[in-house]
Symmetry: C4
Subunit: 199 residues, 4 copies
Amino acid sequence: MTTHRIENLADGIFSIAMTLLVLNLALPEVETGLTLTTELHTLLFGQTHKFFNYALSFILLAIFWIIQHQQFHFIKRTDHTHLWINIFSLMFVALVPFSTSLTGDYPNETVAKLFFDLNLFILGTLNVLNWTYATKDYRLVDRGLDPRRIAMGNRRDAVIPATILLAMVLSLIIPKWSSCVYLLIPIMLAHPWFRHKKT
Amino acid sequence: MTTHRIENLADGIFSIAMTLLVLNLALPEVETGLTLTTELHTLLFGQTHKFFNYALSFILLAIFWIIQHQQFHFIKRTDHTHLWINIFSLMFVALVPFSTSLTGDYPNETVAKLFFDLNLFILGTLNVLNWTYATKDYRLVDRGLDPRRIAMGNRRDAVIPATILLAMVLSLIIPKWSSCVYLLIPIMLAHPWFRHKKT
Amino acid sequence: MTTHRIENLADGIFSIAMTLLVLNLALPEVETGLTLTTELHTLLFGQTHKFFNYALSFILLAIFWIIQHQQFHFIKRTDHTHLWINIFSLMFVALVPFSTSLTGDYPNETVAKLFFDLNLFILGTLNVLNWTYATKDYRLVDRGLDPRRIAMGNRRDAVIPATILLAMVLSLIIPKWSSCVYLLIPIMLAHPWFRHKKT
Amino acid sequence: MTTHRIENLADGIFSIAMTLLVLNLALPEVETGLTLTTELHTLLFGQTHKFFNYALSFILLAIFWIIQHQQFHFIKRTDHTHLWINIFSLMFVALVPFSTSLTGDYPNETVAKLFFDLNLFILGTLNVLNWTYATKDYRLVDRGLDPRRIAMGNRRDAVIPATILLAMVLSLIIPKWSSCVYLLIPIMLAHPWFRHKKT
């Protein structure tokens, strides 16, 4: 089992999960007895939070996909534990369309938000674990890998669970708007402190 | 992050979005109380515009896929901005099955058509941006790339947003038939003025 | 545009279409007011023809996928026309889950069967066209390709549309059982007359 | 037809089947007339067995995917029979989301459990057949392959059908809990007796 094969399965699951997000938009919940025009307006404008959720989940999955590929750029080998960290990670990637549909259907419910947050928190934690496990004693990476690069990977991966913890606290107070905290993730990750320099 | 990885994710999202288009056909909206035969006839012949929409969206996504690959044939490197132009572009690719379902369910509604047009317009504009960004000062392409090829790429990419602007104007007047304007895109792109010569 | 890219998109669309077939099984049409046990028995045993349809469409798509790869084994180049033959071909691949759902929901309706047959007939014809176009004057294949191999490809590809024509005639007479004719396809293609010798 | 192409189609079908499992969660079966909060609690906490089923099927498909790749690591060639063993195997991979939805919708029904068990039993048996066929007289593997490795592959592949037979017996007695037997599979496969040593 080479890392190439895991990346191939991961690319498949990421791209399908990202595309299935759109199915959450495709479920109109309009009342019968309306004219088609009213129905369409309800469908489009009564659901703006669903479009926000679609964009948010798509971007978050894209960020996880980018981080995973940046990790695999340095991970040269795999073993049984590493393989299963990745499979569990993919299990929570595939769960994102469901979590997103919950926050879309129950926008004011704290439980729905917490479910979504928890899904991403586990995903973020598995990401941290993946990098820590692979770089511990240079287990799956090259001996020559710059320790500053390893430390920077740790910093960058920790941004996501930390932000999500903040989102979870906010979910308990203002469930409707707590998701906006997630927008901090791309902003923080764009900061040079968290970025690999391209070679 | 090499361009190869983005292309892999893009191929996945394009192929899923193109296949999910078929789910729009799979939703019969027949009244109960009909015989099965009447129901089937209603389903098939009352929905010819849905088959047209299916074919149209499939062909448009194929055109975007072709253009993207033609661009990536010359784009040798990637950077943070370029990566995100592509991710936003894929977000609107994955949205196409939803936009198509809107035009199928509400064929006479201007709002539905405008939503579909806007989706494709943003996609077309991101395509233009992708090429402009990559070729500006030979940022992500080889120094030796023929400037006429760059100019030709710009011309070709601009065909799509321009045609869609026309479709949007027509959507305000004759929503039911405005989509036919899209058929201009493959016809225009087949013209030698917009085509790469194969080497 | 290399043939590799088309094959990649094709692999994606084939694998998704083959997996989406299962969604046709996932739509129970049970009457309310039944016990769960009766409901389940109705769902499983009242739908045996759906399982047959699932297996049939899966195998037919697999056959088309195999034929396509055997063609691409010899096709070394691509051009604009060849690309579009393949995109239209993929459009009818992606349509198969819908056609299959029609024959599953309306098993006794001739129109449903004819729709399914027509879908596959067009797919088979595009396959013939693909090979004829590519091998005409060695347009997209190597000069050194054995003419007997070209002829054998033509024979093999023609089996499918010919069998489907037979299925269409039978659909007009006995719609419920006409699909069984399709089982002739794998049987005939297993005959040495239609097979590439492995090198 | 190289083994690479089959692996590509298999990766696609595995990743889609694994992601489609989530659609089983996305079908709330709540009664109307409830408040949104009660509805959400019913949806989440009344369906814990569905989350268990999701995780179980995801992990089982991941195990089948790993085994398949370990087999293909040694299988160097393919032939007509081998190709069709794999296509039938993929047909039952794509069926797993449906089988899982049955056990989720009818958790106390023996028939639903047996259907799920049978699906995986056939998949496991085809896996055994794949390896036996490929290694018989070194048909599709290298002459130099260590016979102990072949024997170990046989042992490992046989774990799954054997465990499933046990699950089927338990389904007849305690359908609700019989699935827990499946957890034996990852535990047993983690035992060194069933594992390839990494080189």
